[in-house]
Amino acid sequence: MSDSTAIAQTPHGTHEHPPYQRHHFESMDQQVDATGFAMWLFLLTEIMFFGGLFTAYLIYRNWYFPAFVAGSHQLNIFWGSLNTLVLISSSFTMAMGVWCAEMRKQGALVLCLVLTFILGIGFLGIKTIEYKEKFEKHHVPGLHFSVKSFVDPASDPDIAQYHDKPLRLDMARHTELYFFLYFAMTGMHALHMIIGIGILGFMIFRARAGAYTTGHITFVENFGLYWHFVDIIWIFLFPLLYLISRHG
């Protein structure tokens, strides 16, 4: 209770500050710690933000399982898996980027960030292809949504391999809920990706000027946390949305 000396801090006011130390911090350690911790707290809010969507997903998946199966079959497992690989690779390059920053390898850092950037763009590109396909097949909820592929699966060659039984209209209508959740979750995820890619662009620019290879890597480190978090969301979205009852 009264361990008054528990905090071992560098004695204040005795050493000169590095240029990147903000005035109100006593030491660089404190600054790095505080910003890192803040980033984690921010990620907590993100978890809860997605938490609402996951709750909705679980409830409706439970209620309208056949509709969710049918909806899931409309997603292209190839694109989904490829995107998972792309995102995991981008996470890897990001982690390597942080390592390069730690090791003060400027060139390698820029390379890693550029790779991450490209993979991120690639992910969004693939997502666009998928979205486009949904649009063409009238699977965008609220927008000329059509249940044709579900009441009459035979008419849809894309899902022939699953031999889906036709859904009755009342169940087929609920595929709209599935697609809404699909668009809401992947859209929210894509939005995070877009923000991340924007920041990445800025970071590449700064990294080339040598900003993160002087020993002050907080920004790269914290951005890395964000990027990995976005990756984790996808790690859950992929099986939940793409892999429902894939066996024919």
Partner: protein, 363 residues
């Protein structure tokens, strides 16, 4: 000046003569709920008095004038435990007591008389089994358990009768129930307590509690000529439900005779009790409610029948104890040319040429 004071005086007189701290106790549950309520009031008053007494007496005893030097005290585990455990114990009593009442209010007895209530912006529509409709009013007999089956056509509403101490939300898309047994004849307030839009405060009405004789007279006077179940029968025929649910050996749908209250095994392997909610759901979302041994071929009637229509159908099915009448309807429609038969069955058939179906007799 004189004028104003007179208004005030009138006001006070009116208030003092009508002063009440709680609404009349007009149902069986009301005294039980009030007992808990007053127990809580008592506990609250005691708690509040203790806090006020302590604060006031400490303020006097230890004011700076009397007690210039503060004595530093760390705390006391014993006291701390006291005011943790005593409130906790009291709160737990209130929890258990409250839960008992809650379950009583929302568990209707088997012999309760059922009235359907549809809430819509901004009125309450009650439908008695005998076909009596009322808007923003509900007539009920004294001394008989009444169960309300509530549903909303649009937004959340809440059916509140303060004098009975009961309240239940009418939810869009789902039946909810509440029950009460009125004890004193009279007219009581009916409120919608869940905010439901512009005329929320106009969604009020009267609960008229009548003696059984008066009630019988009222029923007879306000009947529209057709019971709810008869309405349901008409709908049943006009929607061609009987084409499949006719109880024949080769029928495509399960027989509905005596289905109400029975345990059903679904194709998914789950079992379900066929209550009002189940019947409603299986009309609107049949795919989720396919009985074992039958193909999922029933179309959905979502958007084709109003909530009132569903209620009529449910009431009809509830009271269907043999397939005789279903068969009759089917045979007659079968003799007529296509189209005409429907119109005939919808229009003229059940209007009372046969003795009323069992359901209508029931009440």
């Amino acid at each position: 000046m004189n004028h104003i004071s007179q208004v005030l005086w009138q006001f006070l007189i009116k208030w003092l003569t009508n002063f009440q701290l709680y609404p009349p106790e007009a149902s069986k549950i009301a005294p039980q709920m009030d007992a808990l309520y007053f127990f809580m009031v008592l506990v609250s008053l005691i708690g509040l008095t203790i806090v006020i007494l302590l604060v006031v007496s400490f303020s006097i005893l230890y004011s700076k004038k009397r007690h210039p030097v503060a004595v530093q005290i760390e705390g006391s585990t014993l006291l701390e435990a006291t005011w943790t455990i005593i409130p906790l114990g009291l709160f737990l009593i209130m929890f258990v007591w409250g839960a008992l009442i809650y379950f009583r209010v929302y568990t209707p007895p088997a012999n309760a008389m059922n009235i359907y209530v549809v809430g819509k912006q901004w009125m309450w529509k009650a439908e008695h089994p005998g076909g009596q409709h009322e808007i923003n009013a509900l007539h009920i007999p004294v001394g008989r358990p009444v169960q309300l089956t509530l549903i909303s056509q649009d937004v959340f509403h809440s059916f509140s009768i303060p004098a009975f101490r009961v309240k239940r939300e009418a939810i869009p898309g789902r039946y909810t129930t509440v029950w009460f047994e009125a004890t004193t004849p009279g007219t009581y307030h009916l409120f919608c307590t869940q905010y439901c839009g512009t005329n929320h405060s106009a969604m009020i009405g009267d609960i008229v509690v009548m003696t059984p004789e008066d009630f019988k007279r009222w029923l007879a006077e306000s009947t529209s000529g057709m019971s709810l179940a008869q309405n349901g029968e008409r709908l049943f025929a006009s929607l061609s439900c009987n084409a499949c649910h006719n109880g024949r050996a080769d029928s495509r749908g399960p027989s509905l005779a005596n289905v109400y209250g029975s345990k059903l095994t679904l194709t998914s392997g789950q079992t379900a009790t066929a209550d009002e909610a189940y019947l409603r759901e299986s009309i609107l979302n049949p795919s989720d409610h396919v009985t074992q041994g039958f193909a999922p071929i029933m179309p959905t009637y979502q958007g084709q029948i109003s909530e009132d229509g569903v209620i009529a159908l449910v009431e009809y099915i509830k009271n269907l104890d043999s397939n005789y009448r279903v068969d009759q309807t089917l045979n007659t429609t079968g003799l007529l040319p296509e189209g005409e038969g429907r119109a005939a069955s919808a229009g003229t058939k059940p209007a009372g040429q046969t003795p009323a179906a069992k359901g209508t007799v029931k009440q």
